[in-house]
Symmetry: C2
Subunit: 432 residues, 2 copies
């Protein structure tokens, strides 16, 4: 295995997660241990755009305090982008910038679109004979990357959704004198992992059933979970709402933003708008269901909440397990690159026999790129509006543990990196 001496560049891409900065901290911390091979640790600002524009910052120059605080800071400290690199001149430019700054280690923290970009950079470097090691770091709250047991970011948002439902269900139960339908719209464009995670809020006291005095709240919400994997059936939905209302007076519905009707249209979607990757902009599923319920039932009130972007930024509810794994994945990427690997992404596999534990592995970027890990059909309940206990078994370990945030004047104190810019060595890039 050849030793390669050169600088490291890390960048962040796609939608932020509560733990994408923990992965960044993992990359930096590990790289700092290998001064002989990695003299400089750089960050590209706003993902691959920072490379194209030669907007690069010195990460080794950050304070200890900043590095520590990145572990619990939401957003993406380096900035991110949704820019899809397509043109050959862009790829040429990336290698040009890498060469100008002697970048030999490249880590892209992102989802499948980003790992696609990383795969192409890796292939081009090999083709051109530019010695470069490219190891991706997984990131997505959607949990839909293939070949990894789960993705950093998912556990924290799942935990936030669980906390939110358990609390909101108590509010609904308190108001439960009249029929009431509470709707929560959550993220998850193509895969129902996040919507499914809402069932973690369920709670059934384990004390003896004969003991009447039950001092802990037994949460039965959510009662209905609508996954993007299941075409929406209005009649079946309304029938189920009716059953739940009859039994409980209130019905808690969780709906993924990505749910489609039988014709393939997103519920309440604004189809006039698409993002840079051509994905439809979603967001109206909750309000759509609220209207449907109030139309179909007289005297039933429905209210919809939409967590929107707030859910993927909710670091105050981050899962400690998720934070630690995100950092682990960042560190593992650096170690793999140092060991001579390239064109791979770090993955996680469960290694514990009794207790939950993970180990990292590697999977080819080309197999990760543009793949989607669908929610397993066998984990969808028979009624197509619930989730099986096997999913709970899978997901429960991922939300364990709480972070202790530093508070200042009543609010969390978060970190920002210092913009120690690395001097430009090239002319500006003219993107066509």
């Amino acid at each position: 295995m050849s030793s390669l001496i050169g600088n490291l560049l890390v960048a962040q891409s796609g939608g932020p997660t509560p733990v994408i900065n923990a992965s960044l901290a993992g990359v930096i911390s590990e790289a700092l241990k290998h001064e002989d091979e990695i003299p400089e640790i750089y960050g590209g600002l706003n993902g691959i755009q920072g490379v194209l524009n030669e907007e690069i910052v010195d990460l080794a120059a950050q304070s200890q305090q900043t590095l520590r605080a990145l572990r619990h800071t939401p957003g993406a400290a380096l900035g991110t982008c949704r820019y899809k690199v397509k043109k050959q001149e862009d790829f040429d430019r990336i290698l040009e910038v890498f060469a100008a700054h002697n970048i030999r280690y490249f880590h892209y923290i992102g989802g499948n679109d980003s790992q696609d970009t990383a795969a192409k950079i890796d292939a081009l470097a090999k083709e051109r004979g530019y010695e470069l090691r490219v190891i991706g770091v997984p990131k997505t709250i959607d949990n839909d990357l293939p070949l990894t047991d789960h993705c950093p970011g998912f556990g924290s948002v799942a935990k936030h959704i669980g906390v939110t439902i358990r609390e909101t269900a108590l509010d609904n139960a308190a108001m439960g004198q009249n029929d009431f339908v509470s709707i929560l719209e959550v993220m998850g464009r193509n895969a129902g992992w996040l919507a499914a995670s809402s069932v973690l809020a369920h709670r059934r006291d384990k004390t003896d059933d004969r003991v009447k005095s039950n001092t802990h709240y037994n949460c039965t919400a959510p009662h209905i979970v609508l996954l993007p994997e299941v075409p929406f059936n209005p009649d079946a939905f309304i029938t189920r709402v009716q059953e739940v209302l009859k039994a409980e007076k209130h019905c808690f519905v969780v709906v993924s933003e990505g749910v489609q009707d039988a014709a393939g249209n997103y519920l309440g979607a604004d189809t006039s708008s698409t993002d840079a990757f051509g994905h439809a902009v979603l967001g109206g599923a909750g309000e759509y269901l609220r209207n449907l319920v109030e139309d179909r039932f007289s005297g039933v009130k429905a209210r919809a909440s939409k967590l929107g972007i707030t859910q993927r930024a909710a670091s105050h509810n981050a899962s400690k397990t998720d934070v630690e794994e995100a950092e682990l994945c960042g560190a593992a990427a650096v170690r793999a690159a140092l060991a001579g690997e390239s064109g791979q992404m770090v993955t996680m596999v469960r290694s514990g026999k009794e207790a939950y534990a993970v180990e990292t592995r590697l999977a080819p970027l080309t197999e990760i790129a543009n793949g989607v890990k669908a929610f397993p059909p066998e984990w969808i309940g028979e009624d197509r509006m619930s989730v099986s206990p096997d999913f709970v078994k899978y997901a429960l370990p991922l939300i364990q543990g709480e972070m202790q945030l530093p508070f200042e004047q009543g609010l969390p104190r978060y970190a920002q990196i210092s913009l120690f810019k690395v001097q430009r060595r090239l002319e500006p890039h003219n993107r066509g």
Copy 2:
């Protein structure tokens, strides 16, 4: 001052708050200390409806564990209602139930509609010569009760909104390569206190400006705050959005659900729906603004989140100050009743000279009933889309301190009361 021996009944009314159960705990804890005067401590289920239906539970029989956990449990442990007592036979029935159970102390934890009910019960008891002491306990996240410095519930929701904005702003900043408008819709039907509290998220590092290395995130969001006290002006709004985008690339807008246009229509409201008190059902302001922004600017993306009911249940972000004050108000109500007062609500005044502190006082229920404390006009910024530093001075003490919740399997463990029902002594009530 005559000593009065008899049972106590407490009930909860209106929308739950993160601390309405802390007030309940305050009532119970204080009442337990006065066994000679208060032999039994009862709770009415679902507000005044529990009295009408003689659905009463024994609160002294709850476990120590439950009483302790009520302090951090959202919802309303006794259940609540929005039932407006209007008919004379309902008021007669209330006194009949009170007499049947020798209720001599009545505490209603609620907002202005509830204190109106309490005032009428107090007046009727006096008229009929039934010895009863009625002391209300303030509760509303809207902070709009008159004659009190602030209301239990407000500080906790303000804190949750502050945490949410500081986190979401980091996400927006990370995505800030292209113009982006982030909209957060918050509660507050008639008064802008909650929308205003969003400015608590602002953060300006106090370190020397010459020090370039700034490791703490300086939050400039929210940039625009739309209060229900200010008629919405689309052109002024769009102009301001444009200014912020030019300076920062992203613009964070907080909008109260109660904002109206110049003609007095709620932004994006569903005017076909009203609640039991005839209030319009709100909720479309955020989506309305998102559409407006995307219509007026080409190439600008906007996304709206709506916290909805989740915000008033977010006990995991409760302010410790708020929790302690809510409990204090409950205890003060019992002490005032024991001291011979009736027809009053507990209020809070600031007593501290240097440091923040509060003392409780009393104010007549009739003056609280149906009153609304508007957001002070002098605290609205000149641009009508911001809030003055005087408001920050007022509100900042109210969000101080964090609760340490017990977590179990990754989620908070909340309490529920045991339904030890008090035996009925009357025939069922037939409401006309």
